[in-house]
Amino acid sequence: MRFLFKTDYVQDLMLFKHGGQVFWYGLLMIVLLAAPHLVGEYVMSQLHFICIYSIVGLGMMLLVGFTGQISLGHAAFLAVGAYTEALLQAKGVPFFISLPTAALLSGAFGWVLGLPALRLKGIYLAIATLAFNVIVEEVIARWEGLTGGNSGLHLKPIEFFGLKLDGDTSFYYLCLGLTVLATLGLLNLLRSPTGRAFVAIRDSEISASCMGVNLATYKTLSFAISAALTGVGGALYAHKVTFISPEQFTLLQSIELITIVILGGVGFIHGAVLGAAFVIVLPQLISLAKDYLPSNVAGSGLQATVFGLVLILFIIFEPFGLYGRWLKVRTWFELFPFYRRGMFRRQKSYMKSERLR
């Protein structure tokens, strides 16, 4: 067990709290940087997806995990990002302009979706965002002049100052770099007043407002940042799959995105990445298992069923998600043999002022 002796307020502001963290995150970074030389093409392709989903997961985590707003419409932002990127690329706009544009446009859409969030809560907000998802999907499918409708759009490999990022390796470094930047940006926000305002809104809107937090500003800001990150993810996704069409951005996709944060662990940055990895790996495991299942079970609905089942099981048995589970395992080893079962159980919260809702 490690005891940290704090002698300076700066210690609480550091991203790495102790040498051990520097070592492990450093090692992880080295392994990730060396990955193209270590693993085959197939695993690389999965790593691309994990990076892309991590960026989206970070956006979802900010909104769901830290601001406490639910969204069942994030596939729409993924679509906005993907289509912006595809259309701008077709017009010959360079990548270093089209990517920020995709982010900004998604962010703007997110800001607009944030407006109803000022009045709606919980399940009602979920329905509003769900409706938004359906509208965007429908618009993309019908607006054939712009989006090509159901026949979709093709993308060319990214060009970067005349440098073609068509190889797996260079695209991987791009995705990895953006994931790291997104993580750092989010960590920075969370250790400064903006992030604290988000968390305050999540835990008690009424007292956040009494502390001077402008609910309207911060809720829409959270939606905007979340959507912008999802837009970046969408742009990368479009390049990864090289072909986009409306049926990739359905409600099912939105549910997959919210699964990332719930499986990973709501309210943990690590959770976004772990959840992304899980959501990418699970379908592979399912398709592996299909070979051993009777043909009437291994149908097309199997994946959705397993996803739903996993989601339900996590909510019932491990609400803190994969990262929460890891924390428990780590504590068990650190405290061995003194770990108690109820250690992570949170005390019942006291009655809140119902009248103020």
Partner: protein, 254 residues
């Protein structure tokens, strides 16, 4: 110019007149207490001051400005902080983070600076931290500084909430039943702190409280309410002896 003044304040919920034309004035540096039986409208007055409810009638003046023309989050910016009867803390954050939220109105850095965590953000954060540590020292919260609020006992939460309100560096502090749910020893501590807040920090206190022992120890003036209307005002002893107050609490002699 009056420091804080409420004029003809009233609110109706449908046919129920919760607060009926209440007027009072709080002088700078005093501790003013509102008492009254359950349902008298005490907390409703607080919610009206915090603009959580829109007043049906009347005006609230703070340092010469009419509060009713502002929006709820601006009330804190003007220098009014409050605590809640049933504790409204940020449950899944540490005590330190809770107190730092209190510093929100003193925020000096912009979103983009924070995204990059520039040196100016670092400097501002250290200054905020120092201000919060003063509150932690004042309320003796050092032991629980890094604990999650969700795991703390009720008595300590109450103090954390007081700390969060103090961290905003308010001019006027609204305390909604600071002693409810506390044992006699904790209530005693609370009384000392309220005295200290008034004397040493120079913060004006407006309080809603039931514990008459606490009320008479710390308040300069008391206002008694019944069924939304003011029935008596004066020193704690005067109000306690007032026939209308006795009647409101105990009923008429047969």
């Amino acid at each position: 110019m009056n420091f804080f003044k409420v004029e003809n304040l009233g609110i109706r919920f449908g046919g129920v007149v919760a607060v009926d034309k209440v007027s009072f004035e709080v002088k700078r540096g005093e501790c003013y207490t509102i008492i009254g039986p359950n349902g008298a409208g005490k907390t409703t007055i607080f919610n009206l001051i915090g603009l959580l409810y829109p007043a049906t009638s009347g005006k609230i003046f703070f340092e010469g400005r009419d509060l009713t023309s502002f929006s709820p989050h601006q009330v804190a910016d003007l220098g009014i902080a409050r605590t809640f009867q049933n504790i409204e803390l940020f449950e899944h954050a540490t005590v330190l983070q809770n107190l730092l939220i209190g510093r929100h109105r003193h925020r000096k850095t912009s979103f983009w600076q924070e995204l990059l965590f520039t040196p100016s953000v670092r400097k501002a954060e250290l200054a905020q931290r120092e201000a919060v540590e003063k509150v932690i020292d004042f309320l003796d919260l050092a032991k629980v500084r890094d604990s999650l609020v969700a795991g703390l006992p009720y008595g300590i939460r109450k103090v954390v909430e007081l700390g969060r309100a103090l961290a905003t560096e308010p001019k006027l502090l609204l305390l909604d039943e600071p002693s409810s749910g506390l044992n006699p020893e904790e209530t005693d501590d609370m009384a000392f702190w309220i005295e200290d807040i008034k004397r040493h920090l120079g913060v004006t206190v407006l309080m809603v409280e039931h514990d008459m022992n606490l009320v008479s120890r710390v308040s300069d003036r008391v206002l008694a309410l019944n069924l939304g209307a003011a029935i008596a005002e004066g020193t704690p002893a005067e109000v306690q002896a007032h026939p209308a107050v006795i009647e409101a609490y105990l009923g008429k002699a047969a």
